[in-house]
Symmetry: none
Subunit: 291 residues, 2 copies
DNA sequence: CGGTATTCGTATCAAATATTACAGTGATTG
DNA sequence: CAATCACTGTAATATTTGATACGAATACCG
């Protein structure tokens, strides 16, 4: 064993050695990381079956990690667990030496995303979220969803969930040829949810303007710099999209979508429950896997 | 075993039964309470010697507590430990005396999402992300994206970005009728990216298995409980999806998608730049609004 | 003071578990 | 296309561990 001055945690050690592992060993390692450290506190065979591998694979894994046996491995596991339980909850898992610039891209990205989320919700009036939620709960209003080239995925996610809890929801992203028809059908009670982020798409903005002109209520998801469509929007939900990458992040926008979905779902859950049960019944092929 | 409406914790159970114990049994019980639950996570003999009693005493203790054996006792112990490990990562960071229950749903949801993100990236070997990135950079490999009912939005987002930086990317979500054809075309260099989350979809899993059988490399995005498709996946990226809502959160999974997108994009940026410029040129009619 | 009952540890046994050997399988390379 | 190599599960083995019977020790009661 190497005697580092600051011994790495087991999680770090595993992730560091990860590439040296074989495919099946990785599966076992991942199972452990996924529910650490519980997965390995029982017997090796139990751990193995839970990970979907054989016991010897688990044994080979702990051997590769440098332990002299499964017992040794578990001892180390419990040792760390004890330390973690005693100090209430500080840096659970990762060390303090994690210098900002040294951290892997993955971690920097994640930190940035969390900042985006926090900055987004902090600046967002709760009443705005609730107002949009209330709007979408109203089944008398037809709901149209529209996203741009990249934000169409957000519209799609929103549509999948909204459609599960209420009717009269349509995702019209992309089908710009059919837009005029939708426009014709639009009544003043209806709601158009628009996703428009940096590099704001002219056609999307134009459609929002037209819909607004016909009396529809426009709900706009955009970034902190605000799409021009904000001018005709009844509600604007702006989210942070900063990244260390060349693309913008949709994490914070997605969070807003999910929150509103949750609000709409949880409110009047009783009347929705039946619909979902029924819907799940129709999807018997989506069953959970037996064991 | 016991089906109490409000199951008492083990600690409560022990203190309640404390008086019924004999002197040395009490010594063992105290040892456990003193550093709970670590003391009993090892072998019964280890626990005994640590408590200064003999192994049979420990066995008699767990018997008196109503367990059917030491294994049963440990199972319960781990069960509680798991619950305890999952919760205590809350009030980390933000609001002063912002009471947990008082905070608006929006903020609670955001905090949970950030936890999900952090817990996801912490447990994810950086090499795994990079391996997937490397796979997708290889333009000789055709890439197929497949998501389920709700996760199709992730596939769509991934597709939009991947397709912007390379060719031979197809999103085949939903079009299950056409799957056999795609299967026929699949070569052993090809990559199938599967999104499969809780309520794992049988048809998606089946397709992943078939693709794997035909030699394709399967990359699986799933949750911490892992889709059965993990068995045939060459790479598994599991993300946390916990929420305070009735739906699962796709925030952490989206983050992983974005990180990989960033890696693929940033790597070999030069060769990609031309493609993007060209692509943007073709979309001049969709472009930025004057203002 | 003697007898009895409870308690506790030692020794033993049986069951569960880790470990190792081995062979089948698939992938890789020449 | 053959041959080799690496990988992984099955099965056999060795070891550990939980469980139990028994006897020594102590406290308690008559």
């Amino acid at each position: 064993m190497t005697d580092n001055p600051t011994p790495p945690t087991l999680v770090e050690h595993i992730t560091a050695s990860f590439e040296r592992l074989t495919a099946t060993e990785k599966r076992a390692a991942r199972a452990l990381l996924d529910n650490y450290p519980m997965a390995a506190l029982g017997t090796a065979a139990g751990f193995a079956s839970e990970a979907g591998v054989s016991a010897p694979t688990v044994l080979r894994l702990v051997d590769k990690l440098g332990f002299s046996g499964y017992a040794d491995f578990q001892a180390r596991l419990r040792e760390e667990l004890e330390a973690r339980l005693q100090s209430p909850l500080q840096r659970s898992g990762s060390g303090p030496r994690e210098s900002e610039s040294e951290a892997h891209f993955l971690h920097r990205y994640a930190a940035q995303a969390c900042e985006n989320v926090m900055n987004t919700v902090r600046r967002l009036p709760a009443t705005e979220i609730e107002a949009v939620g209330a709007l979408l709960m109203d089944e008398r209003r037809r709901v149209y969803l529209l996203g741009g080239r990249f934000s169409a995925a957000l519209a799609k996610s929103f549509h999948a969930h909204l459609h599960a809890v209420r009717g009269n929801v349509q995702d019209i992203s992309g089908q710009s040829a059919a837009w005029p028809e939708y426009l014709l059908d639009m009544r003043s009670r209806d709601v158009l949810v628009v996703f428009d982020f940096r590099r704001y798409q002219k056609d999307v903005i134009g459609f929002a303007e037209d819909a607004s002109g016909r009396g529809a209520t426009v709900v706009l998801f955009t970034d902190q710099w605000r799409s021009p469509a904000a001018k005709v929007a009844g509600h604007v939900l702006s989210a942070r999209i900063d990244t260390h990458s060349r693309w913008d992040s949709a994490v914070a926008p997605l969070l807003l979508v999910e929150v509103i979905t949750a609000l709409v779902t949880d409110h009047r859950w009783d009347s929705i429950q039946a619909r979902i049960k029924q819907l799940e019944g129709l999807q018997t092929q989506l069953q959970r896997h037996p064991e």
